[in-house]
Assembly symmetry: C2
Homo-oligomer: 386 residues x 2
């Protein structure tokens, strides 16, 4: 039914190293997916991504549905072929962006009614529609539509939302299975063997999180995501939610922590059993001049770097650190050159990819805890820029 | 006195192939220099430039003088080291940008008085100052300060401007030679062996052009540029000015046609004895969605490309044409992704670099005229987008 497979190859405490097989290739986990919102990671080419070891990309269903449209992409052979990325990809459900539209959307049991940010046209995103769009896009992994709860939320609101997310998950799964079982009018299956992940919700309430995890697993998906975190709650609360959720998920399925996070978050979440991440932080912050380094964050626009000939991170082997001084990076940032975004993004993504590669290596050799301790020590070694 | 050398290795009619030796390496001519205004070519990294065969970059003295400043760049070891570009470079004199400031500048015999577009601070660019700044920047080739005449200009205005340009050329050359002869307070010689080119002016008046060429050559420079063309005059007038100027220039010195032009202009100017070009056209038009192809110009935002799976130019071997369809390029352009600028710039620069490479090859084998004919035929093969 699916070409999707996941195998844990090494464990070290709760941390796992594994191989996730998808229709477009194998992903070594733990893995970090850069965000290519509209079928492109802002500021870098696919070639750049491949050169720094990106295994898998995330693209946003909401944006691609509105422009150029999933019908067009399906006619062109699916998202991989349309954007020219041959390795694995994941699409979100579109829900997160729709819920972010605030005054442009309303939500009821059917789904999310919203107006396009491009032309104001009305749309209805249902669990079934989210499955249809993603089947047409044809990423290797599709996500079910979930309801994204704002933080903070009342206990009642969190429970109601979690329950709706479960009902939507059932509908989304049914549709996905039906699409896999045979032709449906108006829906092109761009990638046979696509997998679908369920999403655990429940806000910051331990009982709800556990209930959501148990009932989502009962529906049955190829993998499980933890959603609704990193939305404003304290970091220790986020870690606690991850800690209590992962034991409720099957050991033989990948676990994806959505929209997280800082380099520290990656290490701490792997320590709690997470396999897969995505986040806009490395790319968005790069465009704002913030670099992630092995010794903390660096705001390259800071005047102190005006004549600093050192690379941003002397411990880094990326193209930017091999060829650019802090002085030059500050100059191109101040001069508003497009290259500033490109060079900073190359570095930040390299730092994230290098971090998960080091995590994988540490797990293999049973020294994840010592890696984790040294990683945090080094980050606190000197004062950060922010 | 200078590490600069030029040798014509092949001729074919008036077209020449040659080797220009500079302190940072050898440039095969005819050559095209992409414009890296502020020490960066907009949208692409140095690595990208090297990958498409860019031999030499142009940077703008006006911009670098104002930010980060030639003093800072000299302290950091010169422009090559500051920006991390190890191959040859040329800087303009800063005059063209200053003259473009219109209501922010006045010109007298001393030089050009102007106010910075960044902070309004007052500055005076003299022929001596232009030499000093460029010696501190340390590009392989520096340009003398010339007066840039607006087109159209009266005969009297053109003559007066041409005469002033000659007086400035004498002053600029004297200063350049003095800087090469021994230490000067406040000026760091970043690249020993830097060459300086004179600039022929004279508007669109044949007599003035010839007089300017003769008297500039009499001053004596390592190479000669033709300035003040491609500023609004008809193309055939530009070609005529080039045709009558090159015979007045010494055969053993490189000839640089400043700020020109279209791919057709490159071929036609080589046919008239030009060796070196720079132009913002391939990079600026790329950012506006216009691609130069072997069959004409293509506006990638055109709706007809929405589902066109062909590469922009099926005859092209660049990264963009090898990996992107017209449909994808249109999508990222419409979606305002930074990558649109990068991908289009990579293609356009590759097209320009490939064109001069083909020109060099044609000259070597004595078939430049047949290349020239086929080049124009192919461009007129099908209707352009604009």
């Amino acid at each position: 039914m699916t070409d999707f497979n996941f195998r844990v190859t090494h464990t070290d405490g709760l941390a796992r190293r594994g191989l996730m097989t998808t229709p477009h290739g194998v992903v070594e986990t733990p893995a970090f997916m850069p965000v290519g919102t509209q079928g492109a990671v802002k500021g870098v080419t696919h070639r750049d991504l491949a050169s720094i070891g990106v295994q898998m990309l995330l693209s946003n269903t909401y944006h691609l549905y509105l422009r150029p449209g999933d019908d067009l992409i399906a006619r062109r052979g699916g998202l991989h072929r349309f954007i020219g990325w041959t390795r694995p990809m994941l699409t979100d459900s579109g829900g997160y962006q729709v819920f972010s539209l605030a005054d442009r959307r309303t939500v009821d049991e059917a789904g999310a009614h919203f107006r396009s940010h491009l032309d104001g046209s009305p749309h209805l995103l249902t669990p079934e529609k989210a499955a249809d769009i993603q089947v047409q896009l044809g990423a290797d992994i599709a996500m079910v539509l979930d309801e994204c709860l704002a933080h903070p939320a009342s206990s009642d609101a969190a429970r109601a939302s979690m329950a709706r997310t479960l009902r939507w998950a059932r509908r989304g799964r049914d549709r996905f299975l039906a699409l896999g079982a045979g032709p449906m009018p108006g829906v092109v299956v761009s990638t046979p063997g696509q997998a679908q992940f369920g999403i655990v919700q429940g806000g910051v309430l331990p009982d709800l999180r556990e209930e959501s995890a148990r009932d989502t697993v009962a529906i049955g998906f190829e993998g499980y995501a933890i959603g609704g975190l990193s939305v404003g709650e304290p970091t220790d609360v986020m870690y606690e939610m991850v800690s209590l959720t992962t034991p409720c998920l099957p050991a033989d399925r990948p676990r994806y922590l959505m929209g997280v996070g800082t380099p520290e978050d990656l290490v701490e979440s792997v320590a709690r059993g997470i396999d897969l991440f995505d986040c806009v932080l490395p790319t968005r912050n790069a465009r704002n001049g913030q670099l992630f380094t092995s010794e903390g964050r660096m705001n390259i626009k800071n005047a102190r770097y005006a004549e600093d000939e050192r690379p941003p991170d002397p411990a880094c082997t990326c193209y930017t650190c091999r060829t650019c001084s802090r002085a030059y990076l500050r100059h191109v940032f101040q001069a508003r050159e497009i290259n500033a975004s490109t060079l900073n993004t190359l570095h930040n993504l390299h730092f994230y990819l290098d971090t998960v590669a080091r995590i994988r290596e540490a797990i293999t050799f049973g020294r994840f805890e010592s890696f984790r301790r040294q990683f945090h020590q080094r980050l606190s070694h000197q004062p950060h820029d922010s």
